[in-house]
């Protein structure tokens, strides 16, 4: 009991130390604040439709507006060409970005970690098979593959898009996790567990997984950015889920309806949001990397 408590407090201590290092990092702090801002946007996205149905991002149309209008008291960011409110679309976009980014990243982390651990732990034939497979996926441009698949399977909904993105973004993680697993396998505690009669499954999940988890989480933040970008690009090209409003789709509308030269109030916000949300995840990832990798913050010493 005491031991468990002590261990817990030790973990807590390490967490707090990591947190303070993270918070000291300017890049990490900026990233965190940006992220909180977008989270707030996502939460607020539920509000406008409650005020008036015309603020619904997809179906709400202002009856008095017949073309795209600049910002006004009723529409703080203006409207699109059929009179839908741009602010409410922008807020909803934040929700979609989080949804897509985090679920796709999480799934690709799960695939990558599992495959990496199995390849590293099993070694031999299975290892080289899995890694060749990873190589193959790695040279496929994910956006174009998903496009090709959507041409075969017809219109994709948002969950299929998320699944496809994660299916094509795991090899990078798998490689890193495999390398870590290989080095972990050499450590004495794995041998000890084996001698003590632990099954392979138990060794992998009880002894290897906890050790590779921080690295996997780190990669997850980077995967969030790439998932958001791929989804936005798909939507921008007109292959998004037609039932959702995403920032990429807003850009597609402004582009396809030929408003890009007349309506900067429509062109600028979605692009800024996509760029900044990916920036915020990327910054968090970099800061986390510095916390997790002591080599990056080592102090030079030579006596």
């Amino acid at each position: 009991m005491l031991k468990a408590l002590a261990r817990k407090s030790h973990t807590l201590e390490r967490f707090l130390e990591g947190w303070s290092l993270f918070y000291e990092n300017t890049v990490g702090r900026i990233g965190l604040f940006l992220l909180l801002f977008f989270a707030l946007m996502a939460v607020c996205s539920y509000i406008p439709p409650l005020i008036d149905p015309m603020y619904h991002p997809m179906t709400g149309v202002d009856p008095e507006v017949f073309r795209s209008t600049p910002p006004s008291p009723t529409h703080w960011l203006g409207t699109d060409n059929i009179g839908r409110d741009l602010l409410s679309q922008l807020l909803t976009g934040a929700r979609i970005a989080f949804l897509v980014g985090i679920t796709a990243a999480f799934m690709s982390i799960v695939f990558g970690t599992l495959i990496g651990m199995i390849a590293g732990y099993a070694g031999k034939v299975l290892d080289s098979l899995l890694m060749r497979f990873a190589d193959m996926i790695m040279v496929m441009p994910s956006l174009l593959v998903v496009l090709l698949l959507s041409s075969l399977f017809g219109q994709l909904n948002i969950w299929i898009i998320v699944l496809l993105i994660s299916l094509f973004r795991w090899p990078g993680i798998a490689r890193v996790i495999r390398a870590q697993t290989l080095s972990l396998k050499q450590r004495p505690f794995i041998d000890m567990a084996r001698v003590a009669g632990a099954s392979h499954l138990r060794i992998v999940f009880r002894h290897i997984l906890p050790n590779v988890l921080p690295m996997a989480l780190l990669y997850m933040t980077f995967r969030v950015t790439s998932a958001i970008i791929v989804e936005a690009a798909l939507a921008f090209l007109g292959f998004g889920d037609p039932n959702t409003v995403s920032w990429g789709m807003m850009l597609q509308w402004v582009w396809k309806t030929g408003h890009m030269f007349q309506a900067p109030y429509w062109l600028l916000p979605p692009g800024i949001c996509i760029s900044l949300i990916t920036l915020s995840f990327y910054m968090m990832g970099r800061a986390m990397e510095e916390v997790l990798d002591p080599r990056l913050r080592k102090e030079e010493q030579r006596i």
Binding site: E299, E300, Q301, R302, I303
Partner: protein
């Protein structure tokens, strides 16, 4: 003739926890063509002295005080550009064998030629190559290996090539920092013999930095023992080796002698590696915790230099 005169050299490192002193008021001198060994356990500040002489400390290293008079010129006062002309041409280095002293993507010969041509810009490439070939002969590396890459050399060859590179500009002083650590025993011996031979033949002054007092005693005219940033004993090789005065030197020597038979557990226990972040209390003797001869007066008073012979002295109140 005195070649190098170091006075009161103090070097500190800036760390997260504050400033820690790595070398505390070190003073010593070296005659032309002679060799000096600096001995101590890892972390005692011996490498810091070596790097400090060439002003090659890492970014967080600060030279706080002192003078480094080389041929009468204070190296701590001259500009960085002037310092660059001193480096390698006047004072060169033999690096730790364990270090990756060679740039992995450049051919070894190319790196040596570079050292020559930086200091003798009027040399043609062919002349520089010719000179490197002669040096290779001196350190027994076949000439055809000259333009291989570092990873194609064995550990001993890399080390000999480093010696060759150290000799390129005919320096007056070579600082050899743990030149044999991490090499196997036979190669170690070859390297030591080579350095000794070259030192005699070319009469270059050498500062030999090592943790191995036995090896130092084999090569050097003078020995200087360091402990926790301080010089604790200086003397001629025979004096220090045969009649050590400081208790720390005695323990160093006894752990060396254990190789010949008696293994002394207590002395082994005495060897504690001092951490780099240990802040040195300059008032009382730093060795007091491990000293078997210490008495209560050591706790109250600072250690003083005791002169045993004109050339042999130790920083200990108790030795007479």
């Amino acid at each position: 003739m005195t070649l190098l005169e170091v006075e009161n050299l103090s070097i500190a490192y800036q760390t997260r926890g504050g400033v820690s002193l790595a070398v505390d008021a070190a003073s010593f001198s070296l005659e032309k063509g002679k060799s000096l060994g600096i001995v101590g356990e890892s972390g005692c500040g011996k490498t810091t002295i070596g790097m400090g002489l060439l002003r090659l400390l890492p970014e967080n290293g600060i030279i706080q005080d002192g003078k480094v008079l080389f041929e009468g010129q204070d190296l701590l006062q001259i500009s960085e550009d002037e310092m660059r002309t001193i480096r390698w041409k006047k004072i060169s280095m033999i690096f730790q064998a364990a270090m990756n002293a060679w740039n992995p993507v450049q051919r070894v010969g190319e790196q040596i030629v570079e050292a020559i041509r930086i200091h003798y810009p009027d040399y043609s490439r062919d002349r520089a190559v010719k000179e490197v070939e002669d040096l290779y002969q001196l350190v027994d590396i076949p000439r055809n290996r000259l333009f291989n890459y570092p990873h194609e050399y064995s550990g001993g060859m890399k080390q000999r090539a480093i010696i060759a590179m150290a000799l390129t500009c005919h320096p007056d002083l070579i600082i050899a920092d743990e030149p044999t650590t991490a090499l196997d025993v036979i190669v170690q011996d070859q390297i030591i013999q080579k350095i000794k031979e070259i030192q005699k033949e070319l009469s270059i002054a050498v500062i030999f930095i090592s943790h191995d007092i036995g090896m130092v005693a084999e090569v050097c005219h003078d020995i200087m023992v360091m402990y926790k940033g301080k010089i604790v004993e200086v003397g001629k090789r025979e004096e220090v080796f045969v009649t050590p005065m400081h208790p720390y030197t005695k323990s160093l020597l006894s752990s060396y002698l254990t190789l010949d038979g008696v293994f002394d557990f207590e002395d082994k226990a005495n060897e504690t590696v001092c951490q780099p972040d240990t802040i040195i209390d300059s008032h009382i003797c730093g060795y007091i915790q491990h000293c078997q001869e210490a008495d209560s007066s050591c706790l109250r008073e600072a250690p003083r230099w005791q002169e045993i012979t004109p050339t042999h002295k130790a920083l200990c109140r108790l030795c007479k």
